[in-house]
Amino acid sequence: LSVALRSQSLGSVTAALAELLGFRGRAFLTSSACAASTQGLALAAQWLAQGKVKRVLVGGAEVLCNLTLEGFRSMQLVSPLNSTPFDVNRKGINLSEAAAFVCLEPEATATAKPLAHLSGFGLSTDGYHMTAPHPEGRGIFEAMQAALKSAGLSTQDISWVHAHGTGSRHNDQAEGSAIARLFTDGAGRAIIDGPWTSSTKWVHGHALGASGALETTLCVHALLQQTILKTTGLKDPDPAIGLRHPTASAPARLRHILKTTLGFGGSNAALVLSQAGAR
């Protein structure tokens, strides 16, 4: 217990990484549940915009332990099968562990050819429930709107929404509703050629605080390879959500992707990721 308590502070990871890499500058750690690393990316972008740093290593890491496993099971959120985000028969989440990092630089002073652009971000809070999102996804809707606004883009510029899509009934309903509502015309009708929406969590599971960083790196590679990733495992899309899902991972013209994360406690974050050269 004593050894555990000595290193229980989350910032121990940041300190250890900084020492390993020889960093002596600013260091920061967000712990806003599943929105943590997406918020980290947003804050890093603001550090750069403010000129406080020249480049930032930013990402997320999550490891599993009995506390996490038993905790989520006690909340009846874990699926006994592979999770199937947005499926009408979805039964919950699959927990996983992961780590993913990106290096951010301002384009004007970049030391390497950019792989993609972090064009915009939006942060919001539901203020609704400790663990469940607002049923209509009010908070993530505002975060997505804010992200588009900060990127100077409209919904018509988005080719693909890489959703948080955990496979839980509440998350997928709330998030899906928000995405469907965002991509409507002025009369509230769904945009006919609206973007595809998918979640990749059947493949890699829900890495909780690291999910934002992990899935952002997937989006970067999707932009590089101009490929949309499907929602693996999705057999029967939930008609109550009403999103447009790709049936296969396939080549696509991708310029701008909207990435979303929703966290316990109601913290939401959305990013706009753009193809290198598209901005």
Binding site: R6, A15, L67, E70, T125, M130, T131, S267
Partner: protein, 253 residues
């Protein structure tokens, strides 16, 4: 874009037991109650207006008591209690407060050891400077469990008396200051770190009992006492010998 302190709050000296008897707080954690008491005080000048856009909350130790109780229950009886798990998450305190405050703007939980409070300030400053919000509550909170002190003092170069508490600053940018119309107590300019510094920590400075998010409390105390005005920087030494520097000035300066 200027960032101003317009109000402060402290939990120290407040009656936790009285709060616990209130309906909303019967199942609240120690962190939640401490944080709320400091926020409640900071919001008094607003006279009931819930007009803040955003919140940044920092806790170095996190929800240790609830985590310990969850694990204890699991180990002893094999029973995992969902409410304890929910409240054990670092973001639980912020989630609870966000509901109380009907918050819809950005909300961030921070935890970075002895720099937790400073990271909170920096996150809030970034949000305000970039116009993500006009006003932001910044709260640093930590609560003790008996097992923590001997464990941490085994690694600090100088033994430290640990404490617990919460403090809040209400920060605004220029647009927020015009909106809320509160007098400016101080202006924040920057936060810098020297967290790899070596050197002897001064145990005497932690007179209130040290906790990892206590930078906010120290700033509140200095503001209230008016003793920060020896210069425009406030250096905060940490138990491990590292340091931070808060760059600020009185009033709108």
């Amino acid at each position: 874009m200027n960032i101003h302190v317009v109000s402060t709050g402290l939990s120290r000296g407040k009656d936790l037991e009285a709060l616990k008897r209130q309906g909303d707080f019967r199942k609240a954690t120690h962190n939640m109650m401490l944080a709320w008491l400091s926020i409640e005080e900071a919001l008094q000048p607003l006279a009931g207006r819930l007009a803040m856009d955003a919140m940044v909350l920092g806790s170095g130790f996190g929800e240790l008591e609830v985590t310990r109780n969850f694990l204890k229950g699991l180990a002893e009886s094999g029973l995992a209690r969902p409410l304890l798990f929910q409240n054990s998450l670092h973001n639980a305190t912020l989630g609870f407060l966000a509901m109380k405050l009907a918050l819809t703007g950005p909300s961030i939980t921070v935890s970075n050891r002895c720099f937790t409070g400073e990271n909170c300030l920096e996150a809030a400053m970034l949000l305000l400077q970039q116009g993500q919000c006009r006003s932001c509550l910044v709260t640093g909170v930590d609560a003790l469990i008996p097992e923590l002190a001997p464990a941490l003092n085994a690694i600090y170069p100088v033994p430290v008396t640990l404490g617990e508490g919460a403090a809040t600053l209400l920060l605004v940018n220029d647009a927020g200051q015009r909106q809320l119309g509160l007098p400016i107590l101080a202006t924040l300019h920057d936060v810098t770190y020297d967290w790899n510094a070596t050197g002897q920590a001064d145990a005497e400075i932690f007179s209130h009992g040290y906790y990892e998010a206590d930078a906010i409390e120290i700033l509140v105390e200095r503001l209230r006492a008016g003793t920060h005005l020896t210069g425009t920087t406030l250096g905060l030494a940490k138990p491990d010998g590292s340091r931070s520097i808060v760059h600020w000035s009185l009033g709108a300066g």
